[in-house]
């Protein structure tokens, strides 16, 4: 890929653990990835998978044992390329004694911005991140979420071409997460490249055009999100109300599952070739009302769990089905079916 914004080739990083008899521990093993300019790239993996190590290698906070990496066609050690990048570390710490405005002024000077540039750009950036009102408050008085916003502000201060975000949603409330998502999409629309690591898969699903999954320091999978998610429809979920009993009985033979939800409302699962349009037509003809039709697909979380498990590391993050994952949905559906209670969590 000629216009890759970020490229790593066989990147390896060994740490030495133990004091008396240090032995090597491979944190990253021959990682080769390419991120095209303008992509929102999700770098996913469980804790300890090598996500932060990769970002540190790209930022030259640690040096590779072997392999190399480039940003915008320049080696990562090139100081000049840092004028064109922004970086938000995981759980960032900034100087307690400074205010948000002073911190950005300090960083602005390091970017070589003129005083006039700093005067206009700093308030605008702080306002954009929703902390303009607190710009003269010492950072020691900031909450974790506000510090995260300051971290994002310093990362976008120089209007970077490539933005590296390490767990950008960490510590943010739902409103903050929405704002960050909006910021990422806005930057993407401006043609920026965004590389972000996360284990919050919903964010990756909502934002990323490409993802890579790492586990145990190795690349487990990479590609366009649609390929990875195996977007082939695995079935249909049709929600109807007011279905007459005889019509419901006819449907049962074609459905893979019928659940009763809240009185006269039914969830009818069909196989991939189950023709939901025909079913809906038939039932509405019998007097029922159509509520919704949803395709059933594997979520990114399921892909994540499966790929990580395939690396022999399923126990760390993948063993417990999370809310919203396929196994969790199945269990919720079973509970709903048994009790005739609430609708299971929606599938896409």
């Amino acid at each position: 890929m000629a216009d890759a914004a970020i490229r790593t080739r066989d990147l390896c990083k060994d740490y030495h653990v133990g004091f008396w008899r240090p032995r090597p521990y491979r944190a990253l093993d021959r990682l080769s990835i390419e991120v095209a300019a303008g992509d929102v790239f999700g770098f996913l993996g469980p804790n300890g998978a090598g996500k932060t190590t990769t970002l540190k290698l790209l930022m030259q906070l640690v040096f590779p044992t072997s392999g190399d990496a480039e940003i915008l066609g320049r080696p990562v050690g090139d100081v000049g390329v840092r004028r064109r990048i922004g970086y938000l570390p995981e759980n960032p710490y900034f100087y307690d004694h400074l205010t948000a405005e002073e911190l950005l002024d300090y960083y602005g000077r390091l970017f070589g911005m003129s005083a006039a540039d700093r005067r206009t750009r700093i308030p605008a950036t702080l306002d954009r991140l929703g902390i303009g009102g607190e710009r003269r408050l010492a950072l020691r008085k900031f909450s974790k979420g506000m510090l995260q916003r300051v971290g994002l502000a310093q990362a976008v201060l120089n209007d970077p071409d490539v933005l590296f975000l390490d767990e950008p949603m960490s510590g943010l409330d739902p409103l903050g997460r929405r704002d960050v998502r909006a910021l990422i999409l806005e930057l993407r629309d401006q043609g920026r490249t965004i590389f972000f690591s996360s284990h919050i898969l919903a964010d990756a699903e909502a934002l990323c055009s490409q993802v890579a999954i790492v586990a145990k320091g190795r690349l487990a999978a990479a590609g366009r999100l649609t390929d990875l998610q195996e977007f082939a429809i695995q079935g249909w979920e049709v929600v109807m109300s007011g279905v007459p009993a005889d019509a419901l009985e006819r449907v049962r033979a074609r459905a893979s599952r019928v659940l009763t939800v809240a009185g006269d409302r039914y969830v009818i699962d069909l196989p991939p070739d189950g023709r939901p349009d025909e079913l809906a037509r038939e039932l509405t003809g019998a007097g029922a009302s159509l509520i919704s039709v949803n395709p059933l697909r594997e979520t990114l979380e399921d892909v994540f769990v499966r790929r990580v498990a395939a690396m022999g590391d399923g126990a760390r993050e993948g063993s417990e089905p999370r809310e919203g994952s396929e196994p969790a949905k199945r269990r919720a559906s079973e509970r709903a079916g048994e009790g005739g209670g609430a609708k299971p969590p929606g599938k896409r």
């Binding site: 930022m59 030259q60 906070l61 840092r82 960032p92 710490y93 971290g151």
Partner: protein
Amino acid sequence: MTAIRSVAVAVFRESVRDRVFYNLVVFAVLLVAASILIGQLTAGQDVKIIKDLGLAATSLFGLFIAVFVGITLVSKEVERRSVYPLFAKPMRRAEFVLGKYAGLLLTLFANMVVMTAAIYAVLFFLSRGVPANIQAAWDAPAMDPALLKAIALIYLNLAVVTAVALFFSTYSSPMLSAVFTLGVYVAGQFSADLKHFDVIVDAPAAIAVAKACYYVLPDFAKFDVKLAVVHGIPVSGAYLASTAAYAAMYIAALLFGAVMIFSRRDFK
């Protein structure tokens, strides 16, 4: 240069916000209290004692700042991980180390300017009204400009101590850095004795080790002209220049080592 200047200003600002300059209040109180007390207890020696005390206190307070701020200059940023966003900016690690050093020198300079002014102010008040014939019998005038030579050498001494502290702080914890720096400072006071170790010891190996230490450790005794200045013994410009050159070479070697170590360091 922009990066070095920005980091230096940040260090100075942090020193101000962290109340490093509060030591000046203690210094001023100490000096004024001592001058009142000494003025009542001594006859004609008060100016000399105030000079002695003032220079010693300047050296001691400066040493505290150089060591205890110096050892945290780099290590605090690494421990708290504030270097992470910093090194994603267009700045070399060498510029960071040099900026940190320049910032602490600036802090020490501001500190010493105030202390020097305080010493001269106290000396002015003590000598006021003293008859000219008594003043003529003093080893040196109260407002002796030669005091500035002693203060300049104290400053150079502190610049070397700061470089030692910074060197250790690039790769060890603040606690270890403090131990190492104070160890070097104490050993450096007796550096001249190491040179003549063969006079008191007859073991060739021990003499070789002592000589090696003499050449490696800074000779802090070179910077101490307090006694000479207080007693009106002239300190030549050539001596000042050669000591400054010695300090510059030593500082350059330490900063080179600090930059080399820090530039290769992984921030895990």
